[in-house]
């Protein structure tokens, strides 16, 4: 655990401390860490294990069970393509494939420049505007395959401008 920054160790200790009176604190601890850092690497799981006495294997099991938790850092822009029934019928698989093709990543992966992560979602409750895509929480309605390139280039332009 040597390469965890001191400030991170301190903060994770604080997070664990928050839930010390809970009988089953693991989910809450992991949720806070995920929100704070965007991912939960093995080193952090070992630290949580040391602090709580919960075996690493159990923590790892929880992290890999819930898709909300991530083992690797997410990109600055997290693209979620809905593959729920309505979106799928409206062709969202093709939209997902297009994002993957243009960003050179598979679903679940992050682009080399750290800008984009591509995720699969299962219904975001917006079936009326299918196929739906979310980027950092913002919903893009009725996305078409040939509109994908523009979404990416708009974000890249926005980044370049900053």
């Amino acid at each position: 655990m040597a390469h965890l920054q001191e400030s991170a160790v301190k903060q994770i200790k604080e997070i664990v401390e928050r839930y010390k009176n809970e009988t089953t604190p693991l989910m809450m601890i992991l949720e806070d860490i995920q929100k704070e850092y965007g991912y939960i690497p093995l080193e952090v799981q070992e630290l949580v294990s040391d602090l709580t006495g919960i075996p690493v294997s159990e923590i790892y099991g929880v992290v890999t069970f819930y898709s909300f938790f991530s083992l690797t850092p997410k990109g600055k822009y997290v693209i979620g393509v809905c593959l729920g029934t309505a979106c799928y019928v409206k062709g969202s698989q093709l939209v997902l494939d297009k994002f993957g093709e243009l960003l050179h990543i598979q679903p679940g992966e992050t682009s080399e420049d750290g800008l984009f992560t591509l995720d699969v979602l299962r219904c975001v409750g917006a079936c009326a505007i299918a196929p739906a895509v979310t980027i950092n929480g913002k919903v893009y309605p009725q996305v078409k395959v040939d509109g994908v390139a523009k979404i990416i280039s708009d974000i890249k332009a926005q980044e370049a401008a900053q």
Binding site: L42, E46, P55, E58, Y60, G61, T64
Partner: protein, 587 residues
């Protein structure tokens, strides 16, 4: 215990409150097939759905392994609905199971195969995708094949319960779920002790020892002097492999079988155990009288424990005896002293150890002692050799170990195989050396038994020496925390990795009640004591019961080693430990 009235398939019974339906049914004479359940439901996750029964008034079918009986409960086991559901559960498990049963190393001991027979599973009932498999053969002690795993979770529970380290866990979800060390790592790339407790509870061939039978075959083929030694605990259980009841001594027949298998010499690791006692008792006295190293001294015979030490308590290393374990000492002496007196080139000797242990396979591959032992077979692997050779166990005569330089052994060596045994054996010799007198009370009953931690005060002519004995790393942890904090009150601690000691080692015959119809219902609670009694009885029978009175040991020191702790003894019989083992090395 309060009783409740229940009905099973229309018959009325009174059973203890608090039992699960599965347990209650067994007591009433019913056999509900089950897989994930074992150990009184303590480890049962109700994950396999094989033990489904109907309970009147309940929603749907109930998993009997976790459902407690209650007053007035009406249970149906034999209805069409229940039998079909149990059959479907097993067929679904089989649909995602590698079915090369004929060549599977678990052939003959597989609970899944037994349960498939019990429920009448049909061929190819559900066919489809299989979960992507991982086969881990990197660790010297254990192999893991997820294609045979039924996700019952027994191994996860056992690792946690026995060793407190939870190496194995469930990973991913749904169809991708596997049981693995984190990141689906090899056992060799995680802080696994390779003790094999998980292997002992696995109902299928998903977790097995890493077999070295091929290496032994190759050595015979190459015309080597193949010399075999057997650990004390092997004789306490080997007979079980041939249908004998648990607790049947197998020493004489085992030796006879080894002779028939063509080994050049058949030795008893007990000689090595006696040698270990000489060195370890000497080391203890040095620590006490000359303060050469800190007290308490901790035993070093159990390689699973040594793994735990290096991974989790490297600060405690100075307390641990530098003695190699008995079979490694024996190996070193065979390739030097024995080879010299027989004029054999040590390169032509192939040392095989029959051990109740999977971690010994790892131990022999340690860089600190590379050439002492060439292959380690478990008790189960020895049984395979015997069966393969067409030897009829029941017809074997009783034979003696070879009495050739390293032949004689004492009762002290025999009890190494059970928790408390090393301590008891060492005390017999240390007491003699401290006082010049034999300890009158040879048997130290305080350190016998299967409790988590046992303590004793030994009165050495007015001075009280405190000792402790433990087994299972979960039990050892508090003792080690005290040692680390400098607060341990003891002078000498015995630690064995497997709960109960080597008699319950990860290489011992399986105790799967489903496959042992002739054993009592409580066999999981009694098998360790039954095996231990085999060793204690053998100790009682020995004329010489102290290691320092072994004539062959005396001669070995006189003619070769000099005295305990001599330079040559240090070189051949002692080892060192690694304080920098990474738990999860970067992949």
């Amino acid at each position: 215990m309060a009783l409740v009235n229940i009905k099973i398939d229309g018959q009325a019974f009174q059973v203890e409150e608090g039992l699960t339906i599965l347990e209650a049914a067994k007591k009433c004479g019913f056999n509900i097939p089950s897989l994930c359940a074992f150990n009184h439901g303590k480890c049962s996750l109700a994950s396999c759905r094989v033990c489904l029964v109907e309970v009147k008034g309940a929603r749907g079918l109930c998993a009997s392994c976790v459902y407690p009986v209650s007053e007035g409960m009406e249970i149906t086991i034999s209805s069409q609905k229940a039998t079909e559901a149990r059959r479907a559960s097993v067929e679904l498990i089989l649909s995602n199971h590698e079915k090369n049963c004929l060549q599977c190393p678990k052939n003959g001991h597989c609970e899944l195969l037994k349960v498939a027979e019990m429920v009448g599973a049909r061929d190819q009932k559900y066919v489809g995708d299989m979960t992507k498999a991982t086969v881990d053969e990197l660790a010297p002690g254990l192999i893991r094949n997820t294609a045979k795993c039924i996700l019952c979770g027994r191994c996860i529970e056992r690792c946690k319960e026995a060793q407190g380290i939870s190496i194995l866990g469930f990973e991913n979800r749904g169809f991708e779920t596997i049981v693995a060390p984190i990141q689906n790592r090899s056992f060799a790339e995680s802080p696994c002790l390779q003790c094999g407790q998980c292997v002992n509870v696995c109902p299928t061939g998903a977790l097995m020892e890493h077999s070295e039978i091929d290496k032994v075959d190759a050595a015979f083929k190459a015309g080597k002097y193949v010399i075999v030694q057997t650990a004390p605990a092997v004789r306490s259980a080997i007979a079980e492999e041939f249908g004998e009841k648990i607790g049947t001594p197998g020493t004489g027949k085992m030796v006879a079988a080894l002779h028939r298998l063509g080994f050049y010499r058949v030795f008893d690791t007990n000689f090595g155990a006696d040698l270990t006692i000489m060195e370890e008792a000497h080391e203890l006295l040095e620590r006490i009288t000359k303060k050469t190293a800190p007290l308490p001294q901790i035993t070093s015979c159990s390689p699973g424990w040594i793994n735990y030490l290096e991974y989790f308590y490297p600060e405690v290393i100075p307390h641990v005896s530098t003695c190699k374990s008995p079979h490694m000492m024996m190996g070193a002496i065979i390739k030097t002293y024995f080879a010299k007196l027989h004029n054999i080139d040590p390169k032509d000797i192939f040392n095989v150890s029959i051990m109740p242990c999977t971690a010994k396979k790892y131990e022999r591959s340690r860089s600190q002692m590379p050439n002492d032992i060439d292959a380690v077979l478990t008790t189960r692997e020895l049984a395979k050799l015997i069966k393969r050779a067409g030897i009829n166990w029941q017809r074997l005569p009783e034979e003696e170990f070879d009495n050739d330089l390293l032949g004689e052994y004492t009762g002290a060596g025999v009890i190494f195989g059970v928790t408390g045994g090393v301590m008891e054996a060492a005390l017999r010799t240390a007491y003699y050396w401290l006082t010049g007198k034999e300890f009158e009370k040879i048997e130290f009953h305080e350190v016998r038994g299967l409790e988590a931690v046992k303590e004793a005060d030994i009165n050495v002519e007015g001075t009280i020496v405190k000792v402790a004995v433990t087994s299972g790393m979960k039990n050892a942890k508090p003792l080690l925390d005290a040692v680390k904090a400098g607060k341990s009150p003891y002078a000498f601690i015995e630690i064995m990795c497997c709960p109960g000691g080597c008699i319950n080692g990860g290489g011992q015959p399986y105790v799967h009640p489903t496959l042992l119809p002739n054993e009592d219902d409580d066999i999981l609670d009694t098998y360790r004591a039954k095996r231990a009694s085999v060793l204690y009885k053998e100790d009682e029978k020995q004329v010489i019961r102290q290691s320092h009175n072994n004539e062959d040991i005396k001669r070995l020191y006189k003619e070769f080693l000099g005295k305990p702790g001599s330079e040559l003894a240090e070189e051949l019989l002692h080892t060192s430990y690694d304080a920098h083992r990474e738990r999860f090395p970067k992949k």
